[in-house]
């Protein structure tokens, strides 16, 4: 093989393998919840943090399962993940029809947390995820733009594809990809949503009506959908459209 060809091959492989930076820096910023849990939470400061650029993929999760076999689908305890955990894979360590670069789904909250801990991170908390996801391609906060919200809602209205496509379809202002439009994502405090309704002893129906009535700005409805979805989850649930990505405390400069 000629030296020139080797050089070309080397360059090619470098070009192909050169990964997009794996993590992006998000924040600091101010998150304005569409439905504040209390008057003190209309504006919530979010410290700077780092976030996986993309949702965790099947291939990355397979690495984890191989390193930590207690997370194989045939070994995981029922309290940790329900019966459909990784059910879209062909075998406990075989992806089958699931694409390696598609986001991993059918993972429980416990599993997502364990993966992130293994990577030296954690799940993002809701305010972090929402801050990152308020950005569109150009703006850090596009949440008040009806067109942006309409795109998100249009995706929520779609049925899941039989086989999820690869990650990397859209990039927002923070550099994060696929926060909308591919899968829903776990957050650390998923079971903190809508708690205010409980402790204020409001009737659940009243809460729903109240939420809709106060949903005046364009951003509220899509946000409400996410809160509602999270509040109905349980930690061991797995579904075909629910994946995750990891967050990391910002490195001290």
């Amino acid at each position: 093989m000629s030296r020139a060809l080797i050089a070309v091959l080397a360059m090619t492989s470098v070009a192909v393998a050169a990964p997009a930076r794996e993590r992006v820096s998000v924040g600091p910023g101010v998150y304005r919840p569409a439905f504040p849990a209390s008057p003190s939470e209309r504006e919530v400061d979010v410290a700077a943090f780092e976030l996986d650029r993309r949702p965790v993929t099947n291939a990355a999760y397979l690495e984890f399962v191989r390193a930590r076999p207690e997370w194989r689908r045939d070994r995981v305890k029922p309290v940790i993940a329900d019966a459909t955990y990784l059910a879209h894979w062909a075998g406990p360590e075989v992806l089958g029809a699931a694409r390696p670069n598609a986001p991993v789904v059918q993972v429980s909250w416990f599993a997502a947390r364990a993966y992130c801990a293994w990577r030296g991170g954690r799940l993002p908390v809701e305010k972090e995820w929402e801050l990152a996801a308020a950005a569109d391609e150009r703006r850090r906060d596009a949440s008040a733009d009806p067109a942006f919200q309409a795109r998100i809602l249009a995706w929520y209205a779609e049925l899941a594809p039989a086989v999820l496509p690869d990650v990397g379809r859209s990039t927002n202002r923070w550099g994060a990809q696929d926060l909308h439009g591919l899968v829903w994502e776990w957050v650390e405090d998923f079971n903190a949503a809508l708690v205010a309704a409980d402790t204020r002893n409001q009737d659940a129906v009243q809460f729903c009506g109240g939420a809709a009535a106060s949903a005046k700005d364009a951003g509220a409805y899509a946000t409400f959908m996410r809160f509602a979805f999270r509040s109905a989850l349980e930690a061991r649930f797995t579904t075909a459209m629910l994946g995750f990505r990891c967050a990391y405390d910002a490195r001290t400069p």
């Binding site: 947390r113 929520y156 205010a196 809460f207 979805f229 061991r236 629910l242």
Partner: protein, 202 residues
């Protein structure tokens, strides 16, 4: 925008917040959702034991204990924080009411486990003071979990709580009954509605 399964799933779930649905409103194709419901119908699946969770606690004496501190008998478990002005005293009173409504032999068997989700403030000393002031006898264990473990336990028990920016918490008044192996078998989310919990302990 056309109506969709996902929207209706999610909105139904939201409006059922007082009585959480058995299953997630999975944003996925319908056949899958139906399959999941049939395979996980409450009548055919027993809830898994929470004693298998990798969660550790620190009790009021500062000892590290496991969730299964009262394994072998029925347990009333709830989560709280000690500086809570209203909801938590109500929660503890509610647990006492449950116990007093039991027959003497059931009263002797049941154990109570209170887990704080406020590790920053609820030191063992704070928990000891609370136990003394509230007259909690040695059938009670008052303990605190780390932030991460408290979130894991709450998630497994279906107990919701939210830490507010000012350090207080919003949380529900949930009490869960565990069977001797740690499987949740009954719960109440509202003070005064304890019939199911009492019945499960009889």
């Amino acid at each position: 925008m056309r109506p969709s399964h996902i929207l209706s799933f999610v909105l139904l779930a939201a409006c059922a917040a007082g009585a959480p649905p058995d299953r997630a409103p999975a944003p996925e194709a319908r056949p899958r959702a139906e399959a999941r419901q049939s395979e996980t119908a409450p009548s055919t699946e027993r809830a898994p034991s929470i004693y298998e969770l990798p969660v550790g606690l620190r009790d009021a004496d500062g000892r590290e204990i496991g969730l299964d501190v009262a394994r072998g008998g029925p347990v009333l478990i709830a989560m709280f924080y000690a500086s809570c002005p209203v909801a938590c005293p109500v929660l503890i009173d509610e647990m006492k009411h449950v116990v007093t409504e039991l027959e003497p032999d059931a009263q002797a068997k049941v154990r109570m486990l209170l887990v704080s989700f406020d590790p920053a403030r609820d030191t063992p000393a704070v928990l000891r003071t609370l136990a003394r002031e509230r007259g909690l006898d040695d059938r009670w264990t008052v303990a605190v979990a780390s932030d991460a473990d408290a979130r894991a336990l709450s998630a497994a028990l279906g107990i919701k709580y939210r830490k507010l920016e000012n350090g207080e918490f919003y949380h529900g008044a949930t009490i869960v009954v565990l069977d001797p192996e740690g499987r949740p078998i009954a719960r109440t989310d509202r003070p005064g509605q304890r019939e199911a919990v009492v019945a499960a302990l009889r």
